[in-house]
Symmetry: C2
Amino acid sequence: MLSDYPQPLVMVDTALFTILNEGLCLILAQRQEPPESGHLALPGGFVHVQEDADTEDAARRVIRAKIGFDAPYLEQLYTFSGANRDSRGWSISVAYYALVPASLLDQAQVAETFSVKNLPKLPFDHDQIVAKAIERLQSKSTYSSLPAFLLPEVFTLNDLHVIYQQTQDVRLDKASFRHKIMEQDIIEPIPGYFRTGAHRPAQLYRLTHRVLTSFERKI
Amino acid sequence: MLSDYPQPLVMVDTALFTILNEGLCLILAQRQEPPESGHLALPGGFVHVQEDADTEDAARRVIRAKIGFDAPYLEQLYTFSGANRDSRGWSISVAYYALVPASLLDQAQVAETFSVKNLPKLPFDHDQIVAKAIERLQSKSTYSSLPAFLLPEVFTLNDLHVIYQQTQDVRLDKASFRHKIMEQDIIEPIPGYFRTGAHRPAQLYRLTHRVLTSFERKI
DNA sequence: TGAATAGTGTCTTTAAGACACTATTCA
DNA sequence: TGAATAGTGTCTTAAAGACACTATTCA
Protein backbone atom coordinates (compact mmCIF):
# COMPACT_ATOMS: atom_id res chain seq x y z
CA MET A 1 0.00 0.00 0.00
CA LEU A 2 1.47 3.27 -1.11
CA SER A 3 1.04 6.86 -0.06
CA ASP A 4 -1.81 8.85 -1.57
CA TYR A 5 0.49 11.85 -1.76
CA PRO A 6 3.04 12.81 -4.41
CA GLN A 7 6.43 12.10 -2.87
CA PRO A 8 9.41 14.44 -2.60
CA LEU A 9 12.70 13.71 -4.36
CA VAL A 10 15.20 12.17 -1.97
CA MET A 11 18.95 12.64 -2.26
CA VAL A 12 22.05 12.57 -0.12
CA ASP A 13 24.83 15.17 -0.07
CA THR A 14 28.21 14.74 1.59
CA ALA A 15 30.72 17.16 3.10
CA LEU A 16 34.11 15.42 2.87
CA PHE A 17 36.73 16.99 5.13
CA THR A 18 40.47 16.57 5.10
CA ILE A 19 43.42 18.52 6.53
CA LEU A 20 46.11 19.80 4.19
CA ASN A 21 48.87 22.33 4.83
CA GLU A 22 46.41 25.19 4.41
CA GLY A 23 44.19 23.74 7.14
CA LEU A 24 40.68 22.33 6.95
CA CYS A 25 39.62 21.49 3.39
CA LEU A 26 36.55 20.19 1.59
CA ILE A 27 36.49 17.82 -1.38
CA LEU A 28 34.12 19.09 -4.06
CA ALA A 29 32.87 17.42 -7.23
CA GLN A 30 32.23 18.83 -10.66
CA ARG A 31 28.56 18.16 -11.45
CA GLN A 32 28.07 15.92 -14.52
CA GLU A 33 24.35 16.53 -15.01
CA PRO A 34 21.86 19.38 -14.89
CA PRO A 35 20.92 21.32 -12.94
CA GLU A 36 24.15 23.23 -12.31
CA SER A 37 26.16 20.85 -14.49
CA GLY A 38 29.82 21.82 -14.73
CA HIS A 39 29.73 23.62 -11.41
CA LEU A 40 31.54 22.57 -8.26
CA ALA A 41 29.23 21.20 -5.58
CA LEU A 42 29.11 18.76 -2.69
CA PRO A 43 29.29 15.15 -3.89
CA GLY A 44 25.74 13.80 -3.81
CA GLY A 45 23.02 11.99 -5.66
CA PHE A 46 19.60 10.41 -5.47
CA VAL A 47 18.89 7.55 -3.12
CA HIS A 48 18.68 4.29 -5.08
CA VAL A 49 16.02 2.26 -3.33
CA GLN A 50 16.98 -0.93 -5.20
CA GLU A 51 20.58 -0.63 -4.19
CA ASP A 52 20.92 1.29 -0.93
CA ALA A 53 19.94 -0.26 2.40
CA ASP A 54 19.38 3.19 3.92
CA THR A 55 20.52 6.78 3.40
CA GLU A 56 23.84 6.18 5.15
CA ASP A 57 24.48 3.40 2.66
CA ALA A 58 23.65 5.83 -0.15
CA ALA A 59 26.15 8.32 1.31
CA ARG A 60 28.82 5.61 1.41
CA ARG A 61 28.13 4.82 -2.26
CA VAL A 62 28.48 8.51 -3.19
CA ILE A 63 31.74 8.78 -1.24
CA ARG A 64 33.22 5.64 -2.79
CA ALA A 65 32.36 7.01 -6.24
CA LYS A 66 34.26 10.19 -5.41
CA ILE A 67 37.38 9.02 -3.55
CA GLY A 68 37.45 5.29 -4.27
CA PHE A 69 37.23 4.02 -0.69
CA ASP A 70 35.15 4.36 2.49
CA ALA A 71 35.83 7.34 4.75
CA PRO A 72 37.10 6.35 8.22
CA TYR A 73 34.42 8.51 9.82
CA LEU A 74 30.90 9.15 8.55
CA GLU A 75 28.03 10.78 10.42
CA GLN A 76 24.59 12.06 9.53
CA LEU A 77 24.55 15.86 9.73
CA TYR A 78 21.04 17.21 9.09
CA THR A 79 18.18 16.87 6.66
CA PHE A 80 17.47 19.81 4.38
CA SER A 81 14.14 20.04 2.61
CA GLY A 82 11.67 22.27 0.84
CA ALA A 83 9.92 23.15 -2.35
CA ASN A 84 12.57 25.52 -3.68
CA ARG A 85 15.97 24.16 -2.73
CA ASP A 86 16.28 22.17 -6.00
CA SER A 87 14.77 23.24 -9.33
CA ARG A 88 13.57 19.69 -10.02
CA GLY A 89 10.89 19.91 -7.35
CA TRP A 90 10.09 19.48 -3.66
CA SER A 91 13.14 17.69 -2.36
CA ILE A 92 14.84 16.23 0.68
CA SER A 93 18.58 16.04 1.08
CA VAL A 94 19.89 13.93 3.93
CA ALA A 95 23.32 15.47 4.45
CA TYR A 96 26.32 13.58 5.85
CA TYR A 97 29.80 14.66 6.76
CA ALA A 98 32.89 12.48 6.63
CA LEU A 99 36.54 12.74 7.63
CA VAL A 100 39.30 11.51 5.34
CA PRO A 101 43.03 11.48 6.21
CA ALA A 102 45.08 13.40 3.66
CA SER A 103 47.49 10.45 3.42
CA LEU A 104 44.73 8.29 1.89
CA LEU A 105 43.82 11.00 -0.60
CA ASP A 106 47.43 11.28 -1.78
CA GLN A 107 47.48 7.57 -2.50
CA ALA A 108 44.18 7.72 -4.39
CA GLN A 109 45.29 10.90 -6.19
CA VAL A 110 42.15 12.82 -5.34
CA ALA A 111 42.39 16.47 -6.29
CA GLU A 112 39.65 19.09 -6.04
CA THR A 113 40.27 20.04 -2.42
CA PHE A 114 39.39 23.57 -1.32
CA SER A 115 40.28 25.34 1.88
CA VAL A 116 37.11 26.08 3.82
CA LYS A 117 38.39 29.64 4.13
CA ASN A 118 38.32 30.06 0.37
CA LEU A 119 35.44 28.05 -1.07
CA PRO A 120 33.92 28.70 -4.49
CA LYS A 121 30.26 29.71 -4.69
CA LEU A 122 28.21 26.54 -4.25
CA PRO A 123 24.83 25.74 -5.85
CA PHE A 124 21.51 24.79 -4.18
CA ASP A 125 21.66 25.17 -0.39
CA HIS A 126 25.15 23.67 -0.24
CA ASP A 127 26.55 26.77 1.50
CA GLN A 128 24.17 26.10 4.33
CA ILE A 129 25.13 22.42 4.46
CA VAL A 130 28.81 23.32 4.56
CA ALA A 131 28.27 25.89 7.31
CA LYS A 132 26.43 23.37 9.42
CA ALA A 133 29.04 20.67 8.78
CA ILE A 134 31.89 22.95 9.85
CA GLU A 135 29.98 23.99 12.94
CA ARG A 136 29.37 20.36 13.90
CA LEU A 137 32.95 19.31 13.20
CA GLN A 138 34.40 22.16 15.24
CA SER A 139 32.01 21.76 18.11
CA LYS A 140 32.44 17.99 18.33
CA SER A 141 36.23 18.38 18.12
CA THR A 142 36.23 20.20 21.45
CA TYR A 143 34.90 17.22 23.38
CA SER A 144 35.70 14.04 21.46
CA SER A 145 38.30 12.02 19.57
CA LEU A 146 36.80 13.17 16.27
CA PRO A 147 39.91 14.93 14.84
CA ALA A 148 41.90 11.69 15.18
CA PHE A 149 39.96 10.37 12.18
CA LEU A 150 41.73 12.96 10.05
CA LEU A 151 45.05 11.24 10.81
CA PRO A 152 46.53 7.93 9.60
CA GLU A 153 46.12 5.02 12.02
CA VAL A 154 49.56 5.68 13.49
CA PHE A 155 50.53 9.16 14.64
CA THR A 156 52.51 11.15 17.20
CA LEU A 157 51.08 13.26 20.01
CA ASN A 158 52.32 16.27 18.09
CA ASP A 159 50.36 15.23 14.99
CA LEU A 160 47.27 14.99 17.17
CA HIS A 161 47.96 18.36 18.76
CA VAL A 162 48.30 20.01 15.36
CA ILE A 163 45.14 18.40 13.96
CA TYR A 164 43.07 19.45 16.98
CA GLN A 165 44.25 23.00 16.47
CA GLN A 166 43.55 22.96 12.74
CA THR A 167 40.03 21.54 13.00
CA GLN A 168 39.06 24.12 15.59
CA ASP A 169 41.21 26.93 14.21
CA VAL A 170 42.55 27.78 17.68
CA ARG A 171 45.84 27.52 19.59
CA LEU A 172 45.93 24.90 22.35
CA ASP A 173 48.67 24.78 25.01
CA LYS A 174 50.95 21.83 24.35
CA ALA A 175 51.37 20.62 27.93
CA SER A 176 47.69 20.96 28.79
CA PHE A 177 46.68 19.22 25.59
CA ARG A 178 48.96 16.26 26.30
CA HIS A 179 47.79 15.92 29.90
CA LYS A 180 44.16 16.00 28.93
CA ILE A 181 44.47 13.59 26.01
CA MET A 182 46.36 11.07 28.14
CA GLU A 183 43.66 11.25 30.83
CA GLN A 184 40.97 10.49 28.26
CA ASP A 185 42.36 7.04 27.52
CA ILE A 186 41.55 7.28 23.83
CA ILE A 187 45.05 6.57 22.48
CA GLU A 188 47.77 4.10 23.41
CA PRO A 189 51.52 4.15 22.69
CA ILE A 190 52.74 1.48 20.28
CA PRO A 191 55.58 -0.04 22.35
CA GLY A 192 58.97 0.43 20.76
CA TYR A 193 57.72 2.48 17.80
CA PHE A 194 59.05 5.99 17.31
CA ARG A 195 59.18 8.54 14.54
CA THR A 196 62.79 9.66 14.06
CA GLY A 197 64.34 12.76 12.51
CA ALA A 198 66.74 15.54 13.36
CA HIS A 199 65.26 15.67 16.84
CA ARG A 200 64.33 13.55 19.81
CA PRO A 201 62.36 10.46 18.62
CA ALA A 202 58.59 10.80 19.03
CA GLN A 203 56.49 7.98 20.48
CA LEU A 204 53.93 6.64 18.00
CA TYR A 205 50.33 6.14 19.12
CA ARG A 206 47.10 4.60 17.82
CA LEU A 207 43.44 4.88 18.91
CA THR A 208 42.66 2.38 21.68
CA HIS A 209 39.16 1.91 20.34
CA ARG A 210 38.41 2.42 16.67
CA VAL A 211 35.29 4.44 17.40
CA LEU A 212 34.44 8.02 18.30
CA THR A 213 34.78 8.66 22.03
CA SER A 214 33.32 11.65 23.84
CA PHE A 215 34.95 13.39 26.80
CA GLU A 216 33.35 14.72 29.98
CA ARG A 217 34.91 18.13 29.42
CA LYS A 218 36.53 20.18 26.73
CA ILE A 219 40.03 19.66 25.40
CA MET B 1 12.92 17.22 -14.87
CA LEU B 2 12.34 14.39 -12.45
CA SER B 3 14.49 11.65 -11.06
CA ASP B 4 14.90 8.45 -13.05
CA TYR B 5 14.69 6.48 -9.83
CA PRO B 6 11.66 5.29 -7.85
CA GLN B 7 11.45 7.56 -4.82
CA PRO B 8 11.18 6.55 -1.16
CA LEU B 9 8.13 7.39 0.95
CA VAL B 10 8.77 10.48 3.07
CA MET B 11 7.17 11.06 6.46
CA VAL B 12 7.81 12.93 9.68
CA ASP B 13 7.52 11.53 13.21
CA THR B 14 7.50 13.59 16.38
CA ALA B 15 8.53 12.89 19.96
CA LEU B 16 6.50 15.27 22.14
CA PHE B 17 7.88 15.66 25.66
CA THR B 18 6.27 17.08 28.73
CA ILE B 19 6.94 16.89 32.48
CA LEU B 20 4.22 15.59 34.79
CA ASN B 21 4.45 14.50 38.42
CA GLU B 22 5.89 11.16 37.39
CA GLY B 23 8.73 12.91 35.52
CA LEU B 24 9.52 13.01 31.81
CA CYS B 25 6.57 11.91 29.65
CA LEU B 26 5.82 11.38 25.96
CA ILE B 27 2.57 12.13 24.16
CA LEU B 28 1.55 9.20 21.97
CA ALA B 29 -1.21 8.92 19.37
CA GLN B 30 -3.52 6.06 18.54
CA ARG B 31 -2.99 5.22 14.87
CA GLN B 32 -6.10 5.71 12.73
CA GLU B 33 -4.90 3.90 9.62
CA PRO B 34 -2.98 0.76 8.68
CA PRO B 35 -0.33 -0.36 9.16
CA GLU B 36 -0.48 -0.79 12.95
CA SER B 37 -3.88 0.92 13.15
CA GLY B 38 -5.25 1.08 16.68
CA HIS B 39 -1.77 0.91 18.19
CA LEU B 40 -0.05 3.67 20.13
CA ALA B 41 2.77 5.32 18.21
CA LEU B 42 4.60 8.60 17.80
CA PRO B 43 2.42 11.24 16.13
CA GLY B 44 3.48 11.36 12.49
CA GLY B 45 2.43 11.34 8.87
CA PHE B 46 3.46 11.79 5.28
CA VAL B 47 4.94 15.02 4.05
CA HIS B 48 2.37 16.91 1.96
CA VAL B 49 4.35 18.62 -0.76
CA GLN B 50 1.39 20.83 -1.74
CA GLU B 51 0.93 22.07 1.77
CA ASP B 52 4.21 21.89 3.71
CA ALA B 53 7.03 24.36 3.03
CA ASP B 54 9.60 21.88 4.39
CA THR B 55 9.75 18.91 6.78
CA GLU B 56 9.78 21.16 9.85
CA ASP B 57 6.55 22.66 8.61
CA ALA B 58 5.15 19.14 8.21
CA ALA B 59 6.16 18.37 11.80
CA ARG B 60 4.39 21.51 13.01
CA ARG B 61 1.24 20.43 11.17
CA VAL B 62 1.38 16.98 12.79
CA ILE B 63 1.87 18.51 16.23
CA ARG B 64 -0.98 20.97 15.82
CA ALA B 65 -3.24 18.10 14.78
CA LYS B 66 -2.33 16.28 17.98
CA ILE B 67 -2.28 18.98 20.68
CA GLY B 68 -4.05 21.88 18.98
CA PHE B 69 -1.23 24.42 19.15
CA ASP B 70 2.47 24.89 18.28
CA ALA B 71 5.03 23.50 20.71
CA PRO B 72 7.27 26.19 22.28
CA TYR B 73 10.36 24.24 21.25
CA LEU B 74 10.83 22.11 18.12
CA GLU B 75 14.08 20.67 16.78
CA GLN B 76 15.05 18.19 14.10
CA LEU B 77 16.36 15.00 15.71
CA TYR B 78 17.58 12.56 13.08
CA THR B 79 16.48 10.96 9.82
CA PHE B 80 15.66 7.28 9.89
CA SER B 81 15.49 5.35 6.64
CA GLY B 82 15.60 1.97 4.99
CA ALA B 83 13.75 -0.67 3.03
CA ASN B 84 12.26 -2.48 6.02
CA ARG B 85 11.34 0.08 8.66
CA ASP B 86 7.82 0.48 7.25
CA SER B 87 5.80 -2.29 5.55
CA ARG B 88 4.65 0.12 2.83
CA GLY B 89 8.08 0.27 1.25
CA TRP B 90 11.48 1.98 1.30
CA SER B 91 10.88 4.96 3.53
CA ILE B 92 12.42 8.00 5.15
CA SER B 93 11.24 9.44 8.42
CA VAL B 94 12.57 12.84 9.39
CA ALA B 95 12.14 12.75 13.16
CA TYR B 96 11.61 15.85 15.32
CA TYR B 97 11.33 16.32 19.05
CA ALA B 98 9.36 19.03 20.78
CA LEU B 99 8.87 20.31 24.33
CA VAL B 100 5.43 21.20 25.64
CA PRO B 101 4.71 22.68 29.10
CA ALA B 102 2.27 20.53 31.06
CA SER B 103 0.22 23.66 31.86
CA LEU B 104 -0.66 24.08 28.16
CA LEU B 105 -1.66 20.43 27.86
CA ASP B 106 -4.03 20.73 30.83
CA GLN B 107 -5.76 23.64 29.14
CA ALA B 108 -6.06 21.75 25.85
CA GLN B 109 -7.13 18.60 27.69
CA VAL B 110 -4.58 16.37 25.97
CA ALA B 111 -4.42 12.92 27.51
CA GLU B 112 -2.35 9.97 26.28
CA THR B 113 0.83 10.87 28.14
CA PHE B 114 3.19 8.06 29.14
CA SER B 115 6.16 8.17 31.48
CA VAL B 116 9.31 7.43 29.50
CA LYS B 117 10.14 4.88 32.21
CA ASN B 118 7.01 2.90 31.38
CA LEU B 119 6.30 3.18 27.65
CA PRO B 120 4.11 0.73 25.76
CA LYS B 121 5.65 -1.30 22.93
CA LEU B 122 5.91 1.00 19.92
CA PRO B 123 5.62 0.02 16.23
CA PHE B 124 8.10 0.56 13.36
CA ASP B 125 11.45 1.88 14.63
CA HIS B 126 9.75 4.27 17.04
CA ASP B 127 11.64 2.75 20.01
CA GLN B 128 14.85 3.84 18.36
CA ILE B 129 13.49 7.32 17.66
CA VAL B 130 12.39 7.68 21.28
CA ALA B 131 15.75 6.49 22.59
CA LYS B 132 17.57 9.01 20.44
CA ALA B 133 15.18 11.82 21.42
CA ILE B 134 15.67 11.14 25.14
CA GLU B 135 19.42 11.00 24.68
CA ARG B 136 19.42 14.35 22.85
CA LEU B 137 17.09 15.98 25.36
CA GLN B 138 19.13 14.84 28.34
CA SER B 139 22.46 15.70 26.80
CA LYS B 140 21.36 19.15 25.64
CA SER B 141 19.81 19.83 29.05
CA THR B 142 23.26 19.68 30.64
CA TYR B 143 24.55 22.67 28.71
CA SER B 144 21.62 24.81 27.61
CA SER B 145 18.37 26.50 28.56
CA LEU B 146 16.42 23.68 26.90
CA PRO B 147 14.48 22.47 30.00
CA ALA B 148 13.03 25.96 30.46
CA PHE B 149 10.78 25.26 27.46
CA LEU B 150 9.00 22.65 29.56
CA LEU B 151 7.84 25.40 31.94
CA PRO B 152 5.23 28.15 31.55
CA GLU B 153 6.62 31.57 30.57
CA VAL B 154 6.77 32.61 34.22
CA PHE B 155 8.41 30.38 36.82
CA THR B 156 10.46 30.35 40.02
CA LEU B 157 14.10 29.32 40.34
CA ASN B 158 12.85 26.28 42.21
CA ASP B 159 10.61 25.28 39.31
CA LEU B 160 13.63 25.53 37.03
CA HIS B 161 15.77 23.51 39.43
CA VAL B 162 13.16 20.77 39.59
CA ILE B 163 12.69 20.63 35.81
CA TYR B 164 16.44 20.42 35.17
CA GLN B 165 16.61 17.50 37.56
CA GLN B 166 13.62 15.75 36.01
CA THR B 167 14.79 16.05 32.43
CA GLN B 168 18.20 14.65 33.30
CA ASP B 169 16.99 12.27 36.00
CA VAL B 170 19.75 13.41 38.38
CA ARG B 171 20.04 15.40 41.63
CA LEU B 172 21.64 18.85 41.28
CA ASP B 173 22.87 20.87 44.28
CA LYS B 174 20.51 23.78 44.90
CA ALA B 175 23.10 26.46 45.64
CA SER B 176 25.39 25.46 42.76
CA PHE B 177 22.47 25.30 40.37
CA ARG B 178 21.32 28.79 41.30
CA HIS B 179 24.80 30.26 41.04
CA LYS B 180 25.38 28.74 37.65
CA ILE B 181 21.99 29.67 36.20
CA MET B 182 22.37 33.28 37.33
CA GLU B 183 25.83 33.47 35.73
CA GLN B 184 24.40 32.27 32.40
CA ASP B 185 22.18 35.31 32.00
CA ILE B 186 19.36 33.32 30.48
CA ILE B 187 16.61 34.37 32.90
CA GLU B 188 15.61 37.67 34.48
CA PRO B 189 13.53 38.39 37.59
CA ILE B 190 10.16 40.02 36.96
CA PRO B 191 10.39 43.02 39.32
CA GLY B 192 7.80 42.91 42.07
CA TYR B 193 6.33 39.54 41.10
CA PHE B 194 6.45 36.71 43.62
CA ARG B 195 4.76 33.36 44.10
CA THR B 196 3.27 33.24 47.60
CA GLY B 197 2.23 30.38 49.86
CA ALA B 198 2.88 29.07 53.34
CA HIS B 199 6.52 29.96 52.96
CA ARG B 200 8.85 32.78 51.99
CA PRO B 201 7.64 34.37 48.69
CA ALA B 202 9.57 33.18 45.64
CA GLN B 203 10.82 35.60 42.99
CA LEU B 204 9.26 34.95 39.58
CA TYR B 205 11.49 34.81 36.49
CA ARG B 206 11.16 34.65 32.72
CA LEU B 207 13.61 33.85 29.90
CA THR B 208 15.60 36.93 28.86
CA HIS B 209 15.67 35.74 25.25
CA ARG B 210 12.91 33.54 23.91
CA VAL B 211 15.37 31.20 22.22
CA LEU B 212 17.56 28.27 23.19
CA THR B 213 20.88 29.41 24.69
CA SER B 214 23.91 27.17 25.12
CA PHE B 215 26.38 27.41 28.01
CA GLU B 216 30.18 27.14 27.95
CA ARG B 217 30.09 24.43 30.61
CA LYS B 218 27.71 22.03 32.22
CA ILE B 219 25.04 22.93 34.73
C1' DT C 1 6.54 27.84 67.17
C1' DG C 2 7.22 24.61 63.47
C1' DA C 3 6.64 23.31 58.75
C1' DA C 4 7.50 24.65 54.31
C1' DT C 5 9.95 26.70 50.62
C1' DA C 6 13.38 30.57 49.44
C1' DG C 7 17.81 31.96 49.18
C1' DT C 8 23.14 32.61 50.52
C1' DG C 9 28.18 31.87 52.21
C1' DT C 10 32.06 29.29 52.16
C1' DC C 11 35.13 25.40 51.95
C1' DT C 12 37.33 21.62 49.41
C1' DT C 13 38.48 19.38 45.34
C1' DT C 14 39.39 19.37 40.58
C1' DA C 15 40.18 21.20 36.18
C1' DA C 16 41.88 24.83 32.89
C1' DG C 17 45.42 27.72 31.24
C1' DA C 18 49.94 29.73 31.14
C1' DC C 19 54.67 29.21 31.03
C1' DA C 20 59.15 27.70 31.82
C1' DC C 21 61.87 24.10 31.89
C1' DT C 22 64.47 19.55 30.50
C1' DA C 23 65.43 15.69 26.77
C1' DT C 24 67.15 13.62 22.56
C1' DT C 25 68.50 13.54 18.03
C1' DC C 26 71.11 15.02 13.76
C1' DA C 27 73.79 18.12 10.90
C1' DT D 1 77.07 23.35 19.42
C1' DG D 2 72.61 24.80 17.72
C1' DA D 3 68.34 23.80 15.51
C1' DA D 4 64.50 21.05 15.71
C1' DT D 5 60.90 18.49 17.81
C1' DA D 6 59.69 15.73 22.18
C1' DG D 7 58.12 15.75 26.58
C1' DT D 8 57.38 17.34 31.83
C1' DG D 9 56.70 20.21 36.29
C1' DT D 10 54.45 23.60 38.56
C1' DC D 11 51.95 27.78 39.54
C1' DT D 12 47.73 30.57 39.20
C1' DT D 13 43.04 31.03 38.42
C1' DA D 14 38.49 29.39 37.92
C1' DA D 15 34.90 26.19 38.20
C1' DA D 16 32.38 22.10 40.32
C1' DG D 17 30.43 20.00 44.21
C1' DA D 18 29.21 19.58 49.00
C1' DC D 19 27.13 21.33 52.91
C1' DA D 20 25.61 24.28 56.38
C1' DC D 21 23.50 28.17 57.29
C1' DT D 22 19.92 32.21 57.31
C1' DA D 23 15.14 34.23 55.59
C1' DT D 24 10.15 34.69 55.21
C1' DT D 25 5.67 33.21 55.25
C1' DC D 26 1.38 30.88 57.12
C1' DA D 27 -1.19 27.80 60.09
